[in-house]
């Protein structure tokens, strides 16, 4: 592993466009002598291309390296055809086939997955940024309704969506059943809904009745200042267990300390946004 690294550093210092080789080289180390020879041939080709065509060096040079190295990558891919890397290669090649730069990256990725020495790649390669943005591409966490069809259930999308909706509705119904007293024993959706409707109507009637009662109380004790001061505390202190009383008194103290100007503002502004 050591000689390639040395070569790579010197080479990249000499040739500014040699990162293609530099990024590929560390992977060749595990493949043995034949690939080493291949790499030497690559190096020779690169250097020749650099000397000969200084204007169009990017095109010719990178073409040569890509053909050579992608051949090696195909071999590796065929060996482990059911690997994760094979899928990755296929997706990336389907996306950008024409770009030679991405071809090179394809090879890099496949080898990276096979050899498992990604830690050496990322700091060395100048394509590390592009590689990092390509590598999470194959499996993004998708947003889909997680419904699983049991045996004998329909599996087309409409049935799945309908089943999800029904599950959601039954879940909400369960919440409502817990909320309405005496509704747990009732079986059947229609009866449960009846109970819920009756409960809401009774609550609304209670509000009406209580408002009449409050009006009566209010007219009887017509002018009595300071109703708010003690009422809030007493209402909040009404819960029967200790924790509620504790919190209630605390909240009442907070209210007497600093909530007054906010109220005023709420009264002026209608209070719709403030009372969240």
């Amino acid at each position: 592993m050591d000689p390639p690294l040395v070569n790579e550093s010197s080479f990249s210092a000499a040739n500014p466009s040699a990162y293609s080789l530099a990024s590929i080289w560390p992977f060749g180390g595990e493949q043995g002598g034949s690939v080493l020879g291949l790499r030497m041939a690559n190096l020779a080709q690169n250097l020749g291309g650099f000397r000969e065509s200084s204007t169009n060096r990017d095109g010719s040079m990178e073409e040569s390296t890509v053909t050579e190295q992608s051949g090696g990558g195909r071999k590796r891919k065929d060996v482990s055809s059911e690997d994760e890397s094979s899928r990755m290669v296929s997706t990336s090649s389907a996306n950008q086939l024409s770009n030679s730069n991405d071809k090179r990256m394809k090879v890099v990725e496949s080898r990276d997955e096979n050899g498992g020495i990604k830690a050496e790649v990322d700091p060395n390669s100048a394509d590390g940024k592009k590689l990092a943005e390509q590598s999470p591409k194959p499996e993004p966490p998708k947003d889909y309704i997680h419904v699983r069809a049991r045996r004998g259930q329909a599996t087309d999308s409409h049935s799945l969506a309908e089943r999800a909706r029904r599950e959601k509705i039954s879940e909400r119904m369960k919440i409502l059943q817990d909320l309405v007293p005496g509704c747990n024993k009732v079986i059947g959706k229609a009866l449960v809904l009846d109970e819920i409707i009756n409960y809401i109507q009774s609550l609304q009637r209670q509000v009406e009745f209580l408002s009449m009662k409050l009006e009566a109380v209010n007219s009887r004790m017509s002018i009595s200042p300071g109703i708010e001061g003690f009422t809030v505390k007493n209402i909040v202190n009404q819960p029967y267990d200790a924790a509620g009383i504790l919190y209630g008194s605390q909240a009442a103290r907070d209210y007497t300390q600093g909530a007054q100007p906010e109220w005023l503002h709420m009264q002026i502004g209608g209070g719709f946004e403030r009372t969240s």
């Binding site: 909706r165 509705i169 909400r172 119904m173 919440i175 409502l176 909320l179 309405v180 229609a190 809904l193 009846d194 819920i196 409707i197 409960y199 809401i200 609550l203 609304q204 209670q206 509000v207 009406e208 209580l210 408002s211 009449m212 009662k213 409050l214 009006e215 009566a216 109380v217 209010n218 007219s219 009887r220 004790m221 017509s222 009595s224 109703i227 708010e228 009422t231 809030v232 007493n234 209402i235 909040v236 009404q238 819960p239 267990d241 924790a243 509620g244 919190y247 209630g248 909240a251 009442a252 209210y255 909530a259 109220w263 709420m266 009264q267 209070g271 719709f272 946004e273 009372t275 969240s276």
Partner: protein
């Protein structure tokens, strides 16, 4: 762990009750001050109108505590704040409820703003509405009990 969780829910219910009481009493004292200004000549039908007003105050304070995120609260505040003639004009444009006779249709008519919801939203909003309504009833009951127990 279950103990702490129940304590948290209890604290939440207590604080929500506190907020209900605070908002309701604020609005209530406002209409009370309005009323005490015109208290000298109170005909008997004013009593009914006054109780109607208290009911409106109760509902609007409930909707304000529930906040603008709830569809029923928005619909209720809209209903209370707009004039009736304007409201009928607005209602004509709405689509009719798909199931007028069964329980879901009844629930739609019962819940403010329920005519335009789908069933999932309707049930969710109903749960929240029931919670707020029962809290409001408790608060009002506590206030009236307290006033009856301490007459001055």
């Amino acid at each position: 762990m279950p103990n702490s969780k129940s304590a948290i829910t209890l604290l939440n219910s207590t604080s929500s009750r506190f907020r209900f009481a605070r908002t309701f009493l604020r609005l209530f004292s406002r209409i009370k001050s309005q009323r005490s200004a015109t208290f000298a000549s109170a005909p008997p039908d004013q009593l009914k109108r006054q109780s109607q007003r208290i009911k409106m105050v109760a509902y609007s304070s409930m909707a304000r505590v529930a906040g603008p995120r709830r569809a029923w609260a928005r619909a209720l505040l809209f209903k209370l704040q707009t004039r009736p003639r304007h409201r009928t004009l607005m209602r004509r444009k709405r689509r009719p409820s798909t199931s007028p006779d069964d329980q879901v249709g009844k629930l739609r008519r019962l819940l403010p703003g329920g005519e335009t919801m789908d069933v999932c939203t309707l049930l969710e909003e109903t749960a929240n509405y029931i919670h707020c309504l029962s809290t409001q009833v408790k608060v009002m009951k506590a206030i009236s009990d307290q006033h009856l127990s301490t007459p001055n």
